[in-house]
Symmetry: C2
Subunit: 137 residues, 2 copies
């Protein structure tokens, strides 16, 4: 037990299966600077860091963000906070994201309320139809 590297490495097809996407998409994310896997000769080797990033990517996509936006968000995580001015800009960006997400939350709440209403109406109609069928048939 000399070196316990806890096999946190993945092949491209492996990751693709796990996240339900194609290898092509994963390579594309690399082209766009969202991933930077190691190499074994020509082959890509993904570590736990890439795994985390892919999870962030997928979450961002579910929220409707573009890959550019997602990259911005991801880059926030490992930014070097070396300059105070950059730190302030960074905090501003966080605020902006937060506001955007809050708007999304509100939109979702509104939409869910409307869906509830629609479903109530539909269930009412459905019950009505079936009651009528019972009375007639």
């Amino acid at each position: 037990m000399a070196l316990d590297q806890t096999q946190t490495t993945y092949g491209i097809a492996e990751l693709a299966r796990e996240f339900g996407i194609t290898p092509r998409a994963i390579r594309f994310y690399e082209d766009k600077g969202l991933l930077s896997p190691a190499r074994d000769g020509q082959r890509r080797i993904y570590g736990s860091r890439d795994h985390v990033r892919l999870r962030l990517i997928m979450r961002g996509k579910r929220l409707g963000f573009s890959l550019d936006e997602i990259r911005e968000m991801i880059d926030l995580y490992d930014l070097d906070p070396t300059e105070v001015s950059q730190l302030k800009m960074f905090i501003d960006k966080l605020q902006a994201r937060r506001e955007q997400l809050r708007r999304q939350q509100d939109d979702i709440i509104e939409t869910l309320a409307e869906l509830d209403q629609l479903e109530d109406q539909s269930r009412g109609l459905l019950a009505d139809r079936e009651a009528r069928r019972k009375a007639v048939g």
Copy 2:
């Protein structure tokens, strides 16, 4: 006061200004079947119904839905519930949308939590820098 039509009609530029989009986009939504304004000769005349639809469209876009998805959702609102089987399908679709929105909610909550954490860290670093500057300078 014979006929109170409560001027609920808009021109295309008017709507564009109000929603912060271009007339081109509005015409595009029409092409895609999301809007169906009346006409005065060649000119489009939008009523309150179109106004509501545009609001739904913009909300859908903020949530990252495609125009096709948005049209599906909008069509739910004025579906003719004439057949029971269609009503059931309709309710199923509502459920699917609901689940998707719930996932989005969860994603947002997670992301907001991470943003909070990042901001805490950043503010800590920032305070540290300024304290150090005060001590040294």
